[in-house]
């Protein structure tokens, strides 16, 4: 706790500045104050928590799960077959420069207001970083350890299961922690572009009503949920990976 003190203080100072600025400008439709947002969050709690948060979380969770599945599959195949690696790796790296948000409207065009247009945006934003990070994890396996296993008569499968998988586990966690905020962003942007529920959609609706605090409230909610999820993942990670310092 003590070592977090400076950053906690900084955040408090920033919040205070924000509060001061908002009160100075005194135009909540442009810059709502932090306290104003909290009050609005409380007033809107029923639709936010009952309808829109579950909708967004559904998109996020579904997109993330599919991304993890596909990302692992791709990472494993590239590790298994060097030809696939040669063909796919550069493409994946290059594809990360595509501005996903810019092509998101296309998905709305193709899949309409159904959940799949949003899930697709989420997948597109998280799939590649997961695949690359996990693949790099496989590649970080120490060659000497691999050779040692080989001298014990290990097969390619043994080497994968007993060496590469545990080596890549910390990378897998990093990938997940990186993907969670990305998937939330993806879902919210997609909802903003075209949806009938969800926090992104709700935020946009408040915008049309010039309700500044109402625009911010779902955004704050999203951020808090993403942070909490990452925090939980970190706890699981620390329980599971006790050896990180050694690598």
């Amino acid at each position: 706790m003590k070592k977090n003190l400076p950053s906690v203080l900084l955040v408090l100072v920033l919040l205070l500045l924000w509060q001061g600025a908002a009160m100075g400008i005194n135009a909540a439709y442009i810059l709502p104050s932090p306290t104003g947002i909290l009050v609005r969050l409380w007033e809107l709690r029923v639709p936010l928590f009952k309808v829109h948060l579950p909708a967004t979380m559904g998109v996020t969770a579904l997109g993330l799960l599919i991304s993890i599945g596909l990302g692992l599959l791709l990472a494993i195949s590239m590790d298994w077959n060097p030809k696939l690696e040669k063909a796919l790796y550069p493409v994946i790296v290059a594809s990360q420069t595509i501005p996903t948000t810019a092509i998101a409207p296309l998905f709305i065009l193709w899949f309409g207001y159904s959940i799949w247009s949003k899930v697709l945006v989420t997948i597109l934003m998280t799939f590649f970083p997961i695949a690359i990070t996990v693949f790099d994890g496989f590649k970080s396996t120490k060659r000497e350890m691999e050779e040692l296993l080989f001298t014990y008569g290990a097969t390619k499968k043994d080497i994968f299961l007993k060496l590469k998988l545990p080596t890549a586990l910390p990378h897998f966690f990093s990938a997940i922690k990186m993907a969670i905020p990305l998937s939330v962003i993806g879902a919210a942007i997609a909802e903003w572009l075209g949806a009938q529920k969800g926090l992104g959609y709700f935020s946009k609706r408040m915008m049309t009503q010039l309700d500044g605090a109402g625009v911010f409230a779902p955004v704050v909610l999203l951020s808090v949920v993403a942070m909490l999820t990452v925090w939980v993942i970190t706890i699981v990670e620390n329980k599971l990976i006790t050896w990180r310092k050694e690598i």
Partner: protein
Amino acid sequence: MLRFEGVSFRYPEDELGMVENLSFQVADGEFVAIIGASGCGKSTVFRLINGLERPDGGKILVDEKPIETIKNYSAFMPQKDLLFPWRSVEKNVSLPMELGKVPMGEQEKRAALVLEQVGLADYAKKYPKDLSGGMKQRVSFARTLLSGADMLLLDEPFSALDYLTRVEMQEWLLAQWAHYHKTILFITHDVEEAIFLAKRIYIIQDARPFTQMESIEVPLGYPRNREALKQGEIVELKESLIGKLRRSVSL
């Protein structure tokens, strides 16, 4: 018995060969040290024996059978312990048995027995990060033993340890050897270590590629005592070996 018959080998990336037309042999149960300047190809000899590299020419035989046709005849212990940090001591030493499809119950029994023998019974459930350098090497040795092979290839296993630990580990290794009756090939660049441990020393003097290793008997019996290293004959042997190594370095 291990026998090299006119073995030649060159790493594809290298211009110069590593070994050329090399022949030597090691009898069952022998403790042989291999010494030579660093980079002269000692580790490469081990890589050839354990099948990580294939010779370009010649034959490597164990009990008169080509090594390509047999399995689990040798076990390799590297300089770095290479313990898996996510496995407990017990699970680390069981690794070769896991790969050899030894039944679970049998694995646990053998692991417990060997850990007892190497003096680490109390550490079975601990992780590598909880162990000292000397202990890690003992775990690594136990893992090598549990591969079940009769020939152990130890590549500078103690060179990363501090002096006192190293001396202790040398005595410990001799006790283990007396207990298990395995054949040991031991690479080192420490002449004193070679003399204290080995019955016979192979010394590599040629510049690359080397074609022979001079065999030198150590005129000491077992069990050994560090005091014996002070005998005039042994001191002379040490001086002459150091002289030979020096000449090979200056080439």
